[in-house]
């Protein structure tokens, strides 16, 4: 063992920090601070002009707070439409991704080329933001909920496929081998061993994605698909803040309920 020695700085003060201190976090923070400042300067935001309009922002919020219930039927149906889009896109992607996730998981078909190819393809789909897909779908199949569902499906399927493949790969190989040695086919191994053991994770992923899909749906309307986003954007542009405020509040309320519901389901899962 080496003799313990007091470490001192150049000026003779005693040092107290770790010998093998990991400084990467410090460097990272400094780097981020510098880059952020540069980026901030590059954006060249006219703050004074914006500050001058802050009182106006107060007025807008004030007006948004005064709900106008006269258009409630419009908001209600738009809200239902948004929820349907979110539900349908989540469910269709769920079904598609179970299939693609099976292909992408390395421990089921044991074919590296297949799984890498599937993963690479969906990584690309995931890298493009959802509204872009929705816009493209709208160009192809026209306005309306169908375009929203199809566009959301692209991104959601890509998200689920990666997540599910991860969950499938986490299933211990003994479980799979046990069934394989009993002569089960690959698909039946998947259905009987892999899927049941991954179910809790799949539920968690689905819940998380449903929350995201709902808020995505709410904004899709703003780029042109139907639903509550359309109501919000047209009413804000038409200065009918009362209706817009109510619609925004409804979005908040439903997003909040969905979040609570899945927290509840998770706690139930844990209790089981």
């Amino acid at each position: 063992m080496t003799e313990a020695v007091i470490r001192r700085t150049a000026s003779g003060k005693m040092r107290i920090d770790c010998v093998d201190k990991n400084r990467s976090a410090g460097f990272f923070l400094i780097g981020i601070a510098v880059l952020s400042t540069l980026g901030f300067l590059y954006l060249d935001i006219p703050w004074s002009k914006m500050l001058a309009r802050v009182p106006q922002m107060g007025i807008v919020f004030w007006k948004l707070g005064h709900f106008d219930f006269s258009n409630f039927d419009l908001i209600g149906s738009a809200l239902l439409e948004t929820i349907s889009i979110a539900v349908l896109s989540t469910i269709y992607s769920l079904i598609l991704s179970l299939f693609f996730g099976m292909l992408a998981a390395e421990n089921i078909f044991k074919c590296r080329v297949l799984s890498s190819a599937v993963k690479a393809f969906f990584t690309f789909l995931r890298a493009v933001p959802t509204p872009v897909w929705v816009l493209l779908m709208m160009i192809c199949i026209g306005m309306g909920p169908s375009a929203g569902i199809a566009g959301l499906c692209v991104h959601t399927t890509a998200f689920f496929t990666r997540a599910f493949a991860q969950s499938f790969e986490a299933v211990p190989s003994e479980t799979i081998e046990a069934l394989q040695s009993a002569g089960a086919s690959k698909v039946s191994v998947f259905l009987n061993a892999v899927l049941p053991s991954a179910t809790p994770e799949l539920v968690a992923w689905t819940g998380m994605r449903f929350e995201i899909n709902f808020s995505e749906c709410a904004i899709l309307g703003m780029v042109g698909a139907g639903g509550i986003g359309y109501v919000i954007s047209t009413h804000i542009e038409g200065y009918e803040y009362g209706t817009a405020g109510l619609a925004i509040f409804c979005v908040f309320a439903i997003a909040f309920c969905i979040e609570r519901a899945f927290i509840w389901i998770k706690s139930k899962q844990r209790a089981c």
Binding site: A4, I6, M14, R15, I16, D17, V19
Partner: protein, 268 residues
Amino acid sequence: MEPILTFDHVTKRYGNGVCALKDVSLSVRPGEFISIIGPSGSGKSTLLRSINKLISTTEGNIFFDGENVSALRGGRLRKNRSKIGMIFQNYNLVYNLSVLQNVLHGRLGHMSGIRGILGLYPEEDKEKAWTLLEEMGLEKFCYNKAGSLSGGQKQRVGIARAIIQDPKILLCDEPIASLDPSSAKVIMDLLKSTAQKRGIPCLVNLHQVDVAMRYSTRIIGLHAGEIVFDGEPESLSDSVLERIYGTSVTNLVAGTSDEKDWQQAYAV
């Protein structure tokens, strides 16, 4: 001798209606080594934490060093806390910092302003931390991360952190509950010798009756928040133990204090 700490009819009720302390009165004099024993949930932790107001009490007063703790707030409370050393079951060290830094945390209560925030401790404090760690046999680990130490070593750092405060009392909350038997013995010996050398009274929460018998000058038995026994270890009879733990002595791993039983007690 004047008592340094006095509990005057202290009661603590939690929001859910649980009564953790019921009309507790006691006093502690310098030089005493007091063990508090009792089953889980009998209020041992609450008793210790009410002394430095980590938990505030519902009724009654606690006097420490001439001040009413229950009434203290802000800077006065901090000053008061800096006179009380505390040792925890889970060591409660900041694992990403060095051992020296962890020990010096004990001085934070004496520092203020920008020096306290940046951790620019005076040189004499640093030297003192070093000598204390030498006393604990840890000088080789001074510049290691606290997280890399073993359980017994972590607890020794915890003791050094409490001692560097120059405390007028030491509170130890289950100091050996997370340790293996041999480290537990080392920690208890160290605790007793350091406290005696400096004349600091010690209040120790313990689960192990034998350890309490072996080290303490006085034992307090708690049951459901009430003091059911307060006296010398010698007068702690089987019937008293039954009253403390609410079960027959044969169910408790207690007995005489010879070496074999001491080890057996830990094996269970």
